[in-house]
């Protein structure tokens, strides 16, 4: 069953069509990789799904509820969470308080009380491996850990769909491996993941399905291996033709 659906979604910035009449659907429980060259409209798509930007046309549904007119906080309460392309943890707060803020809000209204939220916060810290750094202010962390904090904060809100905007970029190969297994474990715990990524190894490695965007339109869609072999994709995205033989 589709958990997230877009019909005819359009977003313009002045004369630029960032997203043009895009149809998409995300199945419950899957990891979808969203790739495409710079300016393809990937982050814009995250922004219109989460409500940071309003769409100019079309409809977006979470299950069968239309969400494209709702404010961002409302969409989060329904189960949509995200991370930012350029990391944005709450810099002045400790790792623990970052995650606690997420646990107090989001879909987890039942965590209204601090004690309840603290339990949830600890569970998430454990899950993402940040327990040892719980009392470190977020702005003292490495980029990799800041991305982890953002992921944890989003996770603490109890999302059904998690949109990860380049969580692997700027990481060392080891850190990419760690992040890949973290994303997989999050997915196994029942969260549907939309993964925007430039690190091919990561996105091809853990996505069950890949969607390729170019100039705000869908260029290709399918299994990672099939997409990787698609001529149009190779031309547009990798910028070179596969060598024959």
């Amino acid at each position: 069953m589709a958990i997230l659906t877009g019909r005819n979604v359009s977003k313009r910035f002045g004369g630029l069509h960032a997203i043009e009449r895009l149809d998409f659907s995300v199945e419950e429980g899957e990891v979808v990789g969203l790739i495409g060259p710079n300016g393809a409209g990937k982050t814009t798509l995250v922004n219109v799904i989460t409500g940071a930007l309003q769409i100019d046309g079309g409809e977006i549904f979470l299950r069968d509820q239309r969400i494209d007119r709702l404010p961002p906080h409302h969409r989060n309460r329904l189960g949509i969470a995200r991370t930012f392309q350029i990391v944005r943890p709450f810099r002045g707060l400790t790792v623990r308080d970052n995650v606690l803020a997420g646990a107090l809000y989001g879909r987890s209204e039942r965590h209204w009380l601090l004690t309840r939220a603290r339990e949830r916060c600890l569970a998430v810290l454990e899950q993402v491996g940040l327990m040892a750094k719980a009392d470190v202010p977020a702005d003292r962390l490495t980029v990799a850990d800041k991305k982890r904090v953002e992921l944890a904060r989003a996770l603490a809100t109890g999302p059904e769909v998690l949109l990860l905007d380049e969580v692997m970029s700027g990481l060392t190969p080891t850190e990419v491996d760690e992040m890949m297994s973290l994303v997989q474990s999050v997915n196994r715990s029942g969260v549907t993941v939309v993964l925007i990524e430039h690190v091919m190894r990561a996105v091809m490695g853990i996505s069950q399905r890949i969607v390729v965007l170019q100039n705000g339109r869908k260029l290709a869609e399918g299994l990672p291996a099939a997409v990787a072999a698609d001529d149009a994709v190779i031309t547009a995205y990798l910028g070179r033709r596969a060598q024959g033989g």
């Binding site: 940071a52 404010p71 961002p72 969470a81 002045g92 803020a101 209204w112 904060r153 989003a154």
Partner: protein, 326 residues
């Protein structure tokens, strides 16, 4: 956090301060008591301004509006409507809070600097309106209130305890916020408003609530002040200095902390008490210089600065100057 021992120390210090504050009016002379009463009021300004400015990160330059509204609510309630003081005082808090909601709903959709500018403008507009509603407010001529019943010492003590009680209430509210869901929401907004929305925080509602709470206390202080002075006029109770001092004292002690604004006010009041009379001519220059020093040496208040010691303060100053130079 902080450990059990530290917490015990904090509680002991709070109890000691409270005991001193309760005993003071029976020990000190009238001049000192008057000074202490206004210090409590200023501390209340800083503590409650901090709810919006420090916790939420929205700098208001117009909080004198709420002070003035509160002062006029009590004056009009007592003089024109013949209500008892306590009823008028409740009305002053409500009026200030409602006015904050009315302007907060449209204006708090703006971010940062725009909000600060609008608050400046609103202060002037309201002062103008009050000055011209002559029938109700007495216009520029002001309003005289009845005198608090009782002997001189009773009056001095009564207003001292009213200010103390309101200050304690504001401290309790901030303490409660810092240890609750809403407080985390406010701090999240200060840290990154877009990210806060993305974790399900309805930012406008939170900001309006913080604004209303903060304004309510200014209103109540204004109401007590009006009865204390027994005479108010627009230029006095809508004075922008009320807003500016609230900001300076909060910055001095530490933005967004519980006791920072309180300590900032005490330092500021002691400084002015000892320096003011000698520096009467340089009054504003002194304020300006103080603001520059705060911003450069300890932009996060001296509680934070004290943790780093002198060397830390020096390093920070250099870093801050560099940052401003860029």
């Amino acid at each position: 956090m902080g450990g059990r021992r530290q917490r015990a120390l904090a509680v002991a210090a709070a109890v000691l301060c409270l005991a001193l504050a309760l005993a003071a009016p029976f020990v000190v002379g009238r001049y000192t008591l008057r000074f202490l009463t206004s210090t409590l009021m200023f501390a209340g300004f800083a503590v409650s301004w901090n709810i919006l400015g420090g916790l939420t990160g929205y700098f208001s330059f117009g909080h004198s509006v709420f002070f003035g509204i509160g002062a006029y609510a009590v004056a009009i309630g007592m003089v024109k409507a013949g209500l008892p003081f306590w009823v008028s005082l409740v009305a002053s808090g409500l009026a200030a809070a409602l006015f904050a909601v009315a302007i907060g709903l449209p204006v708090l959709r703006l971010r940062g600097h725009y909000f600060a500018l609008v608050t400046l403008g609103i202060g002037e507009v309201v002062r103008g309106v009050v000055s011209n509603l002559t029938k109700l407010t007495g216009g520029g001529g002001g309003l005289s209130l009845p005198i608090f019943p009782g002997g001189v010492d009773t009056i001095y003590r009564a207003f001292y305890f009213m200010m103390l009680g309101t200050l304690l209430a504001s401290l309790l509210v901030v303490y409660g916020l810092l240890h609750s869901r809403i407080g985390y929401g406010l701090v999240a907004i200060r840290e990154d408003e877009d990210a806060a929305q993305m974790i399900g925080i309805s930012t406008t509602a939170h900001k309006v609530l913080a604004f209303a709470l903060s304004a309510m206390f200014f209103g109540v202080f204004g109401g007590i002040y009006a009865y204390w002075l027994t005479y108010i006029e627009p230029a006095d109770v809508f004075d922008i200095k009320i807003s500016v001092l609230s900001i300076i004292m909060t910055l001095l002690g530490g933005l967004g902390t519980l006791v920072g604004p309180l300590l900032g006010t005490i330092c500021f009041q002691l400084l002015s008490e000892f320096l003011w009379n000698r520096l009467l001519e340089f009054h504003t220059a002194f304020l300006g210089a103080l603001m520059i020093v705060i911003v450069l040496v300890f932009p996060r208040g001296f509680i934070d600065a004290a943790r780093g010691g002198v060397r830390g303060a020096f390093r920070r100053t250099v870093a801050n100057v560099r940052q401003f130079a860029e």
